[in-house]
């Protein structure tokens, strides 16, 4: 409906424009375009107009109705619920790595994952730095970068926690060693107590 808001289109044009605007998304199948138009027609949001023939088969031109425009405005004003993200595979894998492995194993995974995320972020940064890039692709790249950045922030924080955890374990181990030495030197006294 967004594409129809700027003027009447037939299905082929809608598919072509969608694929251009959302160039990173999966291209629309023609069947999906016509199924959607049919559904929108049934709801009264879109109506079929004249049939055109331009270098090929007949093509029906569709236009947005007033009801469709209202529905589009309502949808645009509707706030999307933020995704919870707590079950993200990254977080799950790091937690499982800690449960079944060691903090060194989890740290290695986090560092490798960070490198993979940064590589992907580099790709989008290159794309949006291209002077010829379309504003829609730039926005898509901004969106991807912002989400990757959120993951990278978490990955960095998780790595810091692993480092802290490792330092805590090392410190506790050295305390245990010290305490063992103290116990050994103290044990004759302890052993001698019952007979005392």
């Amino acid at each position: 409906m967004g594409l129809l808001s700027s003027g009447d289109r037939h299905g082929y044009d809608l598919k072509r424009e969608h694929d251009a605007v959302f160039s990173g998304a999966k291209p629309l199948a023609f069947g999906q375009v016509y199924a959607t138009l049919e559904r929108l027609q049934k709801k009264g949001y879109v109506m079929a107009g004249q049939v055109e023939r331009v270098d090929g088969p007949d093509r029906t031109v569709f236009s947005l109705t007033d009801g469709g425009r209202d529905e589009l405005d309502r949808w645009l004003a509707e706030v999307e619920a933020p995704a919870p993200h707590v079950a993200n595979p990254l977080a799950v894998k790091a937690m499982i790595a800690l449960l079944v492995g060691t903090e060194a194993q989890a740290s290695r995974y986090l560092a490798d994952q960070r490198a993979a995320h940064l590589e992907r972020m580099r790709h989008y940064t290159n794309r949006k730095s291209d002077p010829s890039v379309a504003v829609t692709e730039m926005l898509a790249a901004d969106y991807a970068i912002a989400h990757l950045d959120a993951d990278l922030t978490w990955l960095g924080l998780a790595l810091d926690r692993m480092t802290q955890l490792a330092a805590g374990v090392a410190s506790a181990s050295s305390r245990n060693v010290l305490s063992e030495h103290t116990s050994v030197s103290a044990s004759p006294t302890l052993e001698s107590e019952p007979s005392a």
Binding site: S23, G24, A25, P89, L90, K93, A97, Q105, R108, Y109, A111, D112, Q113, R114, A115, A116, H117, L118, R120, M121, R122, H123, Y124, T125, N126, R127, S129, D130, P131, E137, A140, A141, Y143, A144, I145, L148, D149, D151, L152, T153, G156, L159, D160, T163
Partner: protein, 249 residues
């Protein structure tokens, strides 16, 4: 353990700013630090770190606060002399040179850009950019002419007569970047170059730095805690507790 591939949004793979990374096999290095050790009093900041930066490479040095990344930059840029280890600029060992010799290098071979551009408030943008040339003995007229060219390369030629207080943060930082590049150094060091800027202004600064550095074949070392800034570079190394994460440069 397999890493989880981040979801692509676009399949386009054209590379424009970062391009391809030069080889870092140690054969053609612009700057390197070998087993660098540095302490502030009894607090160790660098604990034997080795870094190699290939000529023309853009390297991001990241890490948490206090990890030693800024100290590493100061040692590589000749602003600090390491307690142990060796810094080379090309083939020249600079870590054992006098402060005067290192200072001379910073006026010719090394450019440094800090988070808060540190422009001289009393001078215009053109005069600020011309300053390193004037200090090296270049006459005022050619120095200002060169400064104007560099301001243009960073997209702030229209600010040539403005003083720092009359410019936005992004414009000021681009003037500071032009000043760092006016001597056409072989290596530019940038410490949190967008740290004081908002998203779009920071993006403009990084885009300009990378584009100009690519055109001038300048090696760039960027110190940053921001992954979005690191993503402008060819390669990232992570400094943690005075050492390289993973132990490789």
């Amino acid at each position: 353990m397999n890493t989880h591939a981040p979801e692509p949004i676009t399949d386009s793979s054209a590379s424009t700013v970062a391009g391809s990374a030069p080889p870092t096999n140690g054969r053609d290095l612009a700057v390197s630090g070998q087993s660098l050790v540095y302490s502030y009093g009894s607090a160790p900041a660098l604990r034997g770190i080795t870094v190699e930066v290939a000529r023309g490479e853009l390297l991001a040095v990241t890490g948490p606060s206090g990890s030693g990344k800024s100290t590493l930059m100061l040692c590589l840029a000749g602003l600090l002399r390491p307690d142990a280890g060796e810094v080379r600029l090309g083939d020249r060992i600079i870590s054992t040179e006098s402060e005067a010799a290192r200072s001379e290098l910073r006026r010719s071979e090394i450019g440094v850009l800090f988070q808060f551009g540190q422009l001289v408030a009393e001078l215009t943008a053109a005069e600020n950019v011309a300053l390193p040339l004037l200090l090296s003995g270049v006459k005022r007229k050619p120095a200002i002419a060169a400064a104007t060219i560099w301001l243009d390369r960073f997209g702030v030629a229209d600010q040539a007569d403005s003083r720092p207080t009359q410019m936005s943060g992004g414009q000021g930082q681009r003037v500071a970047a032009a000043r760092a590049m006016v001597t056409e150094p072989s290596v530019l060091f940038a410490d949190e170059p967008t740290g004081s800027l908002d998203g779009l202004a920071g993006e403009q600064v990084m885009t300009q730095i990378v584009r100009v550095a690519r055109e001038a074949s300048t090696t760039v070392v960027v110190i940053t805690h921001d992954a979005k800034v690191a993503a402008y570079c060819d390669r990232e190394i992570v400094v943690r507790d005075g050492l390289l994460e993973g132990g490789v440069s």
